[in-house]
């Protein structure tokens, strides 16, 4: 019972990680670069949802939409500021640009939104749904459901629509994609915006699940997103989703078995072990390995 409860908590937390990881994985594929500004993307999304809920008394759906839209816009700005000007140079330059932008955005939002932690009001009366002996709240179910729906939609988008296929083509091979008539610049912009928008949605979900938004909330969760992406395998959307959920479960089981102080040590250790055994991640493509 205890273990089932822990695993279920892990799945809820993991499904938010999964959404972040999917977004991160899209960016990683399309830009080919680690980004350090993703934490701020998540934070801005969370604040967009927060303002929607507190000032416009919006419902869950609108809050998620606001997070999606705000981070989508931020994604466009990031592409213009950090990636496009340096496309022809060494990739480290774009990386340092994301570090600079991250510092700028985080401190700017402290100045504009205030430094305090903000309360995200409950969007629905939380109550329990008894499922056997474990306790599940309706909010947990809603979060898992939202992430599941989004993941399904994304899967359809990437495999069934022309734009989705173009995105995958660009992330595999930009030159070949250009030769086949894909508008590479526009696709990169779109991919980055989409990846960021998913980060924004996960920011809103984090805010709702933990009832709080904070200008400095992003940094630590962005690391989790990165970890989950590598966990599942870069360039694989089901992989990223699985990586996120597994990370959530490992974290919770780590606390249950050892002390809570060891939570991140355990998840990072498992990550390194997985990389040693299967460097391409759990569901990563084989050709990644060299």
């Amino acid at each position: 019972m205890f273990w089932l409860q822990q695993i279920f908590n892990g799945i809820t937390q993991g499904s938010i990680y999964a959404l972040m990881a999917i977004g991160y994985s899209i960016i990683l594929g399309i830009i080919g670069l680690v980004t350090f500004v993703h934490g701020e993307v998540i934070m801005i999304g969370a604040f967009a949802g927060f303002f929607m809920v507190t000032f416009l008394k919006a419902n869950f759906f609108l809050a998620v939409l606001a997070g999606f839209a705000a981070s989508w816009l931020l994604g466009i700005i990031i592409e213009r500021v950090c990636y496009r000007p340096f496309r022809s140079g060494p990739r480290e330059i774009a990386l340092i640009a994301t570090i600079g932008l991250s510092i700028l955005l985080r401190s700017l939002s402290q100045v504009t939104f205030g430094t305090e932690q903000k309360l995200m009001p409950d969007l629905l009366n939380s109550h329990f749904i008894p499922l056997g002996q474990i306790r599940i709240t309706n909010i947990q179910l809603l979060i898992i459901f939202t992430v599941f729906i989004l993941a399904l939609l994304l899967h359809q988008f990437f495999y069934k629509t022309k734009t989705g296929i173009a995105l995958r083509a660009v992330s595999m091979n930009k030159q070949a994609a250009a030769l086949l008539g894909v508008h590479v610049n526009r696709t990169i912009l779109l991919g980055n915006a989409l990846g960021c928008a998913l980060g924004g949605v996960s920011g809103v979900l984090l805010g709702i699940y933990y009832n709080s938004v904070h200008p400095v909330m992003g940094a630590s969760v962005a690391m989790k997103a990165f970890t989950a992406t590598v966990f599942g395998g870069i360039g694989s959307i089901p992989g990223a989703a699985l990586g996120g959920i597994l990370l959530g479960i490992f974290e919770n089981l780590g606390v249950a078995i050892f002390s809570s102080g060891y939570r991140d040590i355990i998840s990072f250790s498992i990550l390194i072990l997985i990389l040693l055994i299967r460097p391409q991640g759990i569901l990563g493509r084989k050709e990644l390995e060299r």
Partner: protein, 375 residues
């Protein structure tokens, strides 16, 4: 080309910075080292508002010995390395007579050797690490150490007020959290309360479900939450969402309007202690609270009040001792029954303050002082 220009630009910036730093004559300068930016900015802001308020109040009453009090605010980002650098800057500036800071014990301790070596007072409004005041003659802490608060929490809150037979602790894994938890647990065991579980968490964490589920499995009657008000509020909310009915208690760090705002119904019944209450009838406390609300747009918390007292305390010491760092330190060490808004302040020989605590409980979404249990 641009390297030369860079050097030129740097030279210009340096000279401007240098000229700005020189303060006008006829002033008294104290330093404030606090996290104005970074992850702890929220706490540094309280310091800034309160210390500036204190300075304005002193200046409105004619300043110190006819001189205007000026506060030199330096941002440490909450980084011990930067706190040490600021310490160096302050001790270097001969106009600075004493300093207030740092917020966290780690930063205060990192800066302590420098203040001590050069002989400049570092008065921390919040550092409650038992080693802090002992780090040197020039170190003073006014929040009161956990050596006194822990036994109070165990004896009066856990045993007499909540009547707990068993308790578990969840604590933030930093120096403050660890000491707070340890002192409480020691004292609770001394009172014959069974300790079922002790679990740490890290500062940036938001998800406490796993830890709480684990603690719940040990089935304690009460839980002691050694955390700042933000995290404490989230922990209480998650306890509620787990459907767990447990008695809540926490150290004085949770006393804040923010806890009520974020915690909502979930913090109902939470018991803590304080030596500063918003309902204190003392007019100078009420004047302070109103003024703070006007400037910051919210009610002050314990940290803010403590920073305000620190500034007044320093001003008083400077007034009595004159404009000499060593004399100010000696004067400060002799402080007896200084009437602060957080109560009477008397330093122990090492430079700590022993506080008189009151039990404070959340009832109907308000902080309520419980008088009956402390006598």
């Amino acid at each position: 080309m641009s390297k030369k220009r860079l050097i030129l630009a740097l030279t210009i910036i340096f000279s401007i910075a240098g000229s700005v730093l020189a303060a006008p004559a006829g002033t008294v300068k104290i330093g404030l080292s606090a996290p104005i930016t970074g992850n702890l900015a929220e706490y540094g802001e309280n310091f800034k508002y309160s210390v500036l308020m204190a300075a304005d109040k002193i200046n409105a009453n004619g300043g110190i010995r006819g001189r205007k009090l000026v506060v030199d605010i330096q941002d440490s980002k909450g980084d011990p390395k930067e706190a040490a650098l600021i310490a160096q800057k302050f001790v270097q500036d001969q106009e600075i007579l004493a300093t207030i800071g740092e917020f966290s014990s780690t930063s205060s301790l990192a800066a302590a050797p420098i203040y001590e070596r050069y002989g400049l007072v570092q008065l921390s409004p919040t550092a409650s690490h038992p080693d802090f005041a002992k780090a040197g003659q020039y170190m003073f802490g006014i929040i009161g150490t956990q050596d006194a608060e822990g036994p109070f929490n165990a004896k009066y809150i856990a045993k007499k007020y909540l009547k707990l037979k068993s308790v578990a602790a969840i604590y933030v894994n930093n120096d403050w959290g660890l000491v707070t938890k340890d002192r409480f647990i020691e004292a609770a065991r001394g009172e014959g309360i069974k300790v079922t579980s002790q679990q740490p968490f890290f500062e940036t964490e938001k998800d406490f479900n796993a830890v709480l589920t684990k603690i719940r499995a040990t089935n304690p009657e009460g839980i002691f939450i050694a955390a700042m008000y933000n995290e404490a509020a989230l922990i209480c909310r998650q306890i509620k969402k787990l459907g767990w009915n447990v008695k809540l208690m926490a150290p004085s760090s949770v006393f804040s309007e923010k806890l009520l705002e974020i915690g909502g119904e979930a913090v109902e019944g939470l018991a803590t202690n304080t030596f500063f209450a918003l309902t204190d009838p003392d007019p100078k406390v009420q004047v302070y609270i109103n003024e703070f609300r006007k400037r910051a747009g919210r009610n002050p918390n314990l940290h803010a009040a403590s920073a305000y007292d620190s500034a007044l305390l320093l001003a008083e010491a400077i007034r009595k001792a004159g404009f000499n760092r060593k004399a100010i330190r000696d004067q400060l060490a002799q402080t007896k029954n200084f009437p602060g808004i957080t109560g009477k302040i008397t330093f122990t020989p090492v430079g700590d303050v022993v506080r008189k605590y009151k039990i404070l409980v959340v009832e109907n979404g308000q902080w309520v002082v419980k008088k009956d249990y402390t006598q």
